[in-house]
Symmetry: C2
Amino acid sequence: MKALRLALMGFGNVGQAFGKMLLEKQEEIQDRYDTEVKITAIATATKGNLYNPEGIDIAKAIEDAEKNGSFNGPDLTELGGIELLEEAEYDCLMELSPLDIFTGQPATDHLMIAISRGKHAITANKGPVAWYFRDLKYLAEEKNVGFYYETVVMDGTPVFNLVEHTLKMAKVTEIRGILNSTTNFILEEMEKGCDMDDIMARGRQMGFIEADPAMDIEGYDAAGKVTALLNVLMDAGIRPDQVKRKGIEDITMDDIRAAASRGNVIKLLCKGSLDEEGNVIAEVGPQEIPRTDMLASVNSTTSIVSITTDLMKTVSIVEHEPEIEQTAYGVFGDMLRVLER
Amino acid sequence: MKALRLALMGFGNVGQAFGKMLLEKQEEIQDRYDTEVKITAIATATKGNLYNPEGIDIAKAIEDAEKNGSFNGPDLTELGGIELLEEAEYDCLMELSPLDIFTGQPATDHLMIAISRGKHAITANKGPVAWYFRDLKYLAEEKNVGFYYETVVMDGTPVFNLVEHTLKMAKVTEIRGILNSTTNFILEEMEKGCDMDDIMARGRQMGFIEADPAMDIEGYDAAGKVTALLNVLMDAGIRPDQVKRKGIEDITMDDIRAAASRGNVIKLLCKGSLDEEGNVIAEVGPQEIPRTDMLASVNSTTSIVSITTDLMKTVSIVEHEPEIEQTAYGVFGDMLRVLER
């Protein structure tokens, strides 16, 4: 039996959920791909780092992370994250480190190091795809390795794979989507007439409003996602700071009520389209949507992307109220693509 | 350069739209697959049959069909449809003959003949996938040829390919959908308070209410589609007559108003799920849906399938108001799969 050796940068909720999925499906993977998937390295900011070229005990790593918040045992290593990336034995990097939407770093550097070493690379981090997509893509092509990023937009829900594998030869001409849960939740609750302080408190309690919600509310997260979509699906070659971005910070209850009086709701819409010269125009901003429109029914943590192509008009794909397992499935599915190479 | 030779059974709207798409994309196909796609045989019920092992003039066939409703010229043949299937030179059958939802014939026989000869087979006809899926699948496996049917549900919108190519290793546990445009249009118009005679007249004018609308209104079309979905995606091994089927023929304006008073709309829902023993249960019937639910926003000729799996919860895919080109893209995409083999 062959082996695929993974190095994980980051081992938070997604990494742990991925580890569980891998353990659960290990046998089926072996049957299907005649390959055993091992994790040989895990680097984290707060739990310590693990390294074992023969394969880390995944169940133990998950248990230690959950119970103690830190690793222990014989696989603990003094090697730092970058050292592991540069020196450890692995076939594929799985980049799960925290996002910096303003720079795409250090995730991009991690991917560059791995790909430069001829390793496949998977990222769940939208920063690199938003900021450095072409660089990463060209480097991966040059090194003849896989570079996968399905999780970057809508978790494991196929968006990039949808176009690449099921809409072959169709040329994308427009993309519209609702891609930020936090703003979607806030707008929906405002619609119900809830008080803003109360909305923020409940959103924090439910775990999808961050301590500092500006990233979401001012549209930076949505801008990162639409940039990733447009870079991959429309070869836009743009950065998040080139998106015409407006958040929902100025939306008032009066705006919501005025929209309602017109039979509309307000949603934070992501959009990419072509101008007359064929350049891709990227926008994020609040927009009034008729209440009967499908987009108006996208509530809470549900998200949607509508993709218009020359051959298939508009096809939409919807992710319904995902949990952490759906993010884990995104990188799991990318790993299956590596196995198929 | 290699060649792929197609035999078309049927050359109505879909066949002609496919022909145009093929002509438009011929060059790109040659660049991408190093293969020239030819049509060597076309059999029709009313236009005559064409055969040329070197390739029929596709543009002329389309023009003759559009202008004269019949073929002419040197490629006209006395060979009948079955004779062409049995004797003509081709690599792949494209089955576009009219549907008989009660038997799946003669389309299934056409496919059987071609596959038995070791030819790839593509069908846009849901009958064979609803009635004889396993037989066709096993025969194609035995003969080591491709058997493709993406168009059977929601035209070229990926449904089967979505699961096979983008939700790998995810096990489908439930399917829900709105898949019949005619009933969807009628219910929507009733909702607006329109008179039934008027609805039927306009539906006929718009081309999506048949002269005899019973197939749609009594749920046979939807039952055929849900059977196809369940046979492929849940290995159900069922026939359309095993679907628990109820149409919208008994829905009255009072029902619609009563639903509205509860904040609901009535939709003809297709559903497949597992019972406690793991058997697939297939149902088609009118159901009340909350007006705020995404399914309630699926109007007119738009359709939706929601697929629930063990690993990715629920993902929905939506086709927005398709035209004939979207059906043509379904078989075009299947042809690209053949080219990739």
